[in-house]
């Protein structure tokens, strides 16, 4: 019986230890994105995200260890008759590029997500499971670095290089599930 008491005591001490892997969790943070569009003729939209604007991020930033799950969500409308493969890029420092060429010349650009194909003249709501698969390894690393850093970056949505496209995205959201030590 004494051995059982020691085991329980040891486990209890482990549970109570701050920074122990036991005292951790996965916290989901949703960032609403404004409606935006991408057009190979008239230019691309951007949205600058400041993670610090979300209280959940602020409260857990110091305890953040990793990104557990990610998703770009929303309703994608292809305004062209041709299919489009939508990609999301980010610049790790806030930027205001208005066309694909200047974005590609940015040294801090990283392809974050995609391609997500939308057939011509259709609207498609992305599935969370599909979206989770579309993050690039470099994009995940850049996002983790931003989440651990100043939390300030810019997102762009665009179609394939040197092709004609015209799409818009509504009800958009960037979902981050962060691993935090409690």
């Amino acid at each position: 019986m004494k051995r059982v008491a020691w085991m329980v005591l040891a486990l209890g001490m482990g549970l109570a230890t701050p920074g122990c892997i036991l005292t951790s969790g996965q916290i989901q943070i949703d960032f609403a994105l404004p409606n935006f569009s991408g057009n190979s003729l008239t230019g691309i939209d951007h949205t600058t995200i400041d993670l610090n604007s979300e209280k959940e991020y602020q409260d857990n930033k110091e305890k953040l260890k990793d990104l557990s799950d990610l998703a770009v969500l929303g309703k994608f409308t292809n305004n062209s008759t041709n299919p489009v493969n939508v990609e999301v890029w980010m610049t790790t420092t806030p930027s205001t590029h208005l066309d694909e060429g200047s974005l590609m010349a940015d040294q801090t650009k990283v392809k974050l997500w995609g391609p997500f194909q939308v057939a011509g003249s259709t609207t498609k709501t992305i599935d969370w499971n599909v979206s989770a698969q579309l993050f690039t390894t470099a994009g995940k690393a850049a996002l983790l670095s931003e989440a651990k850093g100043d939390g300030n970056f810019t997102l762009y949505a665009l179609g394939p290089a040197l092709s004609a496209y015209n799409f818009s995205v509504s009800n958009g959201a960037l979902v981050l599930v962060i691993d935090v030590g409690i």
């Binding site: 085991m7 036991l22 951790s24 969790g25 916290i27 969500l73 709501t125 499971n129 979206s131 698969q133």
Partner: protein, 191 residues
């Protein structure tokens, strides 16, 4: 890690068995029950204590208690689990995220004997390898567990018991955690 587990699974029971004068008591059993994610994918802005527990999943598997020395029973196990999908409305649209499918194997170290009679209690700790998979995410890491079992019935060949367990999969500095309750039945191959 794999080597360590294999060592624990096979060498330890044999070694301890060899140190004993008598043969090891070996049983095989099946179990099934519930498993609930703890503090996973929660939203802290609208957090209430009940949100700490995710949707109840199921777990089932095989165990083979090997009672080679008087105070410890070694119990290799293999388990599978299935967690429910989660639905959430974000930006006015309802999305579904897959729940994890889990597989794990390892060994439990049980203090005493798990095949006692009514209300016979036995605490245990375990270590193993756990794989959690869902679309776009895979976690394949070392898992740890501890719990308490209670015997309900025992005869010469059969034993029935229930267990409450806390388990976690270490993911670097953090972990994915679960609590569970299972019921199992074992059949003694050797006394």
């Amino acid at each position: 890690m794999k080597r360590l587990l294999l060592l624990a699974l096979f060498v330890l029971p044999l070694a301890t068995g060899a140190a004993q004068a008598g043969p090891a008591g070996i049983s095989v059993g099946v179990f099934g029950g519930l498993s609930v994610p703890v503090l996973q994918d929660v939203s802290t802005s609208s957090f209430s204590p009940s949100d700490a527990f995710g949707a109840t999943g199921s777990t089932w598997g095989l165990r083979a208690p090997i009672h080679a020395i008087s105070s410890i029973t070694f119990e290799p196990y293999y388990a599978k689990s299935k967690y429910k999908d989660r639905e959430e409305t974000i930006g006015g649209i309802t999305y579904k995220r897959d729940g994890f499918d889990g597989k794990s194997y390892g060994v439990n170290f049980i203090l005493g004997h798990p095949e006692g009679g009514l209300f016979h209690m036995f605490p245990y700790i375990g270590i193993g390898k756990t794989k959690l998979e869902r679309t776009g995410q895979e976690i394949n890491k070392t898992g740890y567990n501890f719990g308490l079992g209670v015997g309900l019935f025992s005869s010469q060949k059969m034993a029935v018991g229930v267990r409450g367990e806390f388990s976690m999969v270490a993911t670097g500095d953090t972990s994915r955690k679960f609590v569970g309750a299972t019921a199992g039945i074992t059949y003694r191959l050797t006394p």
